[in-house]
């Protein structure tokens, strides 16, 4: 297992490098000066500006600038935010926790919806339950997250007045009340992401289980006289999960996209809303860093999927 993990980590490195190249090329191709903030500041005289350009090496050839940027990133020197006036890595560290919490819980919600519904629907294909589940799944992944968010706010915050629609980091309550307030304000964001993911996963689970259930080893298990429940859970679902994990890993970039929107709607202080604020404030170092962090997170989650993959399918470990 550890050897497999190490190999997977080594495979992840080139993709991370590839992503960093793509990011850097995009930035280098961009017209104008990314450090315009300093350039347009009237308090900085032109000769100082020229010195800054030379000091930062902005006139060097692109590959030298890339390697310099890469080594700086690796050493943890992520630059300085123009807008917030603090180091970018501190800014991101403050905010990445909330994002991971929301994404993590929404994935659990999605799994809690998709697994039972998908398996039950596939066990009785074309039944009424299957048809209703299928229709709801179609509606679920056709509803864009920003619209689901607004609908939930409309229902739970404005009509019923049960849940707050602005996420607050500074809750004064202590003890149980503190946790309760946090859970209450996380319900809607988690639901928005969870519904969207759960809907598409339900379809993956259903079709994967449907493919497995027709195989002969399942018939054998039934012929042995095992209970249907046991056949489905122990024999079918475990094998059906293998293709599902692949599809889920492929969906990870979309999940992070959804997280950005959710954070923006509910004003959650995570890295997604940080990205949008930074874009609107022309805060280039923060934009670069947040995009890179998203890339790292996508690759980390892919790695996690691979580990689950290896656990589900023991044959993979020895490859």
């Amino acid at each position: 297992m550890s050897q497999y993990l190490l190999r997977r980590l080594l495979i992840a490195l080139p993709s991370l490098l590839g992503i960093s190249v793509v990011l850097f090329v995009v930035l280098a191709l961009a017209p104008g000066d990314p450090f315009e903030e300093l350039a347009t500041n009237p308090n900085i005289p032109p000769e100082v500006r020229e010195n800054i350009r030379i000091a930062f090496g902005l006139d060097d050839p692109i590959y030298i600038r890339y390697f310099r940027w890469l080594t700086a990133m690796l050493q943890g020197d992520w630059g300085f935010s123009f807008a917030s006036r603090i180091n970018v890595d501190d800014l991101i560290l403050q905010r990445v926790g909330v994002t991971l919490l929301i994404i993590g819980s929404s994935q659990i919600v999605a799994l809690a919806i998709a697994l039972p519904v998908g398996v039950y629907a596939a066990a009785r294909p074309y039944s009424i339950f299957d048809q209703i589940a299928n229709t709801l799944a179609f509606i679920g992944f056709s509803l864009p997250p920003f619209f689901t968010g607004l609908l939930l706010i409309l229902l739970f915050s404005i009509q019923l007045d049960w849940l707050p629609f602005v996420y607050r980091a500074d809750i004064e309550a202590t003890g149980w009340a503190f946790y309760w307030e946090h859970i209450k304000q996380a319900i809607m964001p988690v639901l928005v992401l969870g519904i969207f993911q759960g809907a598409s996963w339900t379809r993956y689970v259903r079709s994967a289980v449907l493919d497995m259930i027709r195989l002969e080893y399942v018939t054998t298990a039934r012929a042995k006289g095992l209970r249907e429940r046991g056949v489905i859970i122990k024999h079918v679902v475990r094998n059906a999960m293998i293709p599902v994990v692949t599809l889920v890993a492929l969906q990870m970039p979309a999940v992070f996209g959804g997280a950005i929107i959710t954070e923006q709607i509910f004003r959650i202080p995570g890295i997604g809303s940080l990205l949008i604020t930074a874009v609107l404030a022309n805060d280039t170092p923060v934009i670069m860093a947040v995009t890179f962090v998203f890339a790292i997170l996508v690759i980390l989650f892919n790695l996690l999927a691979d580990i689950i993959y290896g656990w589900l399918d023991p044959r993979i470990t020895y490859r």
Partner: protein, 290 residues
């Protein structure tokens, strides 16, 4: 019976897909010809009619400046659907070319192209979309005007992040098709590689591509609305469906209709396109028993 007729017959069996086709056709007709019939200007400001609900004068109500929402919806629908179709075209063209090259040439070319495909699949798309639009928006606006420049940028960028599934599908199809007898026969008759690809392999691999393309239209509409909803899409004076939602979200408590109409329009367009894709999948898969 020709294969296309057969596919159409099978498509009609999928009731929801068949119904969706009519709903989508109606939406496309409405946004194409609607502005000719409902000729209220999209930017006519009327402060006496602010934030009004649906009425005969304004069937979808008005926004905070008293602008008529029906005409803004129709105008925005044109852009949203045009972006969807154009981005789909970009994704399909890039995907088919890359998939075909990878599928017909073995070895290192194939490996390199597939590495590129996997790399693009691992990119965080929305952050990059936001980054690219942030960096290039102003330049393209100067070159091609605010509306067309942003249109081209959004279409190219969305297309550039959606071609990978198509490339994989085409490559997989090529791998199985190029060993089939009819391609071998063409090869034996002396057909050049481009001719084999264009005349024999490509037409037979189009089924899954059509399905993927349909779903790409829906994904592109969502992507464009998302960008507009984040305030990063078209300029504020051009009302796309996502932009209408973005403007409406601060008035959710007093003007629900403002958010509901564009949201429902996006939802309906995406839902019908997804159903049509599902119907096409059934119709174009010859192995599927109906």
């Amino acid at each position: 019976m020709t294969p296309w007729r057969e596919a159409w017959r099978r498509f009609r069996r999928h009731k929801l897909a068949y119904g969706s086709l009519f709903v989508l056709a109606f939406m496309i007709l409405a946004v194409t010809f609607g502005p000719l019939i409902w000729a209220v200007p999209i930017n006519e400001i009327d402060f006496t009619a602010r934030l009004q609900g649906p009425s005969w004068a304004h069937p979808m109500g008005t926004d905070d400046l008293g602008q008529d929402l029906l005409s803004r919806m129709l105008y925005g629908g044109r852009i949203s659907i045009a972006v969807g179709l154009a981005a789909m075209a970009v994704a399909i063209i890039v995907g088919v070319i890359i998939g075909a090259i990878a599928g017909i040439s073995r070895g290192s070319v194939d490996a390199a192209l597939m590495w590129l495909t996997d790399l693009f699949l691992a990119l965080p798309q929305l952050p990059l979309l936001v980054l690219v639009i942030y960096l290039f928006r102003d330049t393209l606006k100067e070159i091609a005007g605010p509306e067309f420049g942003v249109f081209v940028l959004i279409v190219v960028v969305i297309g550039a992040f959606r071609w990978m599934p198509v490339a994989r599908l085409v490559r997989a199809q090529f791998f199985s098709l190029r060993e089939k007898e009819f391609v071998e026969a063409a090869r034996a008759l002396g057909a050049s590689t481009p001719r084999q690809v264009v005349r024999h392999i490509l037409p037979n691999s189009l089924g899954p591509v059509i399905v993927a393309g349909t779903i790409d239209v829906a994904a592109a509409i969502i992507a464009e609305s998302t960008l507009s909803f984040l305030g990063l899409g078209f300029p504020p004076d051009i009302p796309t469906w996502g932009r209408l939602l973005f403007d409406a979200k601060d008035y959710l408590d007093i003007a629900v209709h403002w958010a509901l109409f564009p949201g429902a329009a996006i939802f309906l367009a995406v839902l019908t396109i997804n159903y049509i894709g599902d119907g096409l999948r059934d119709a174009l898969d010859p192995r599927k028993v109906m």
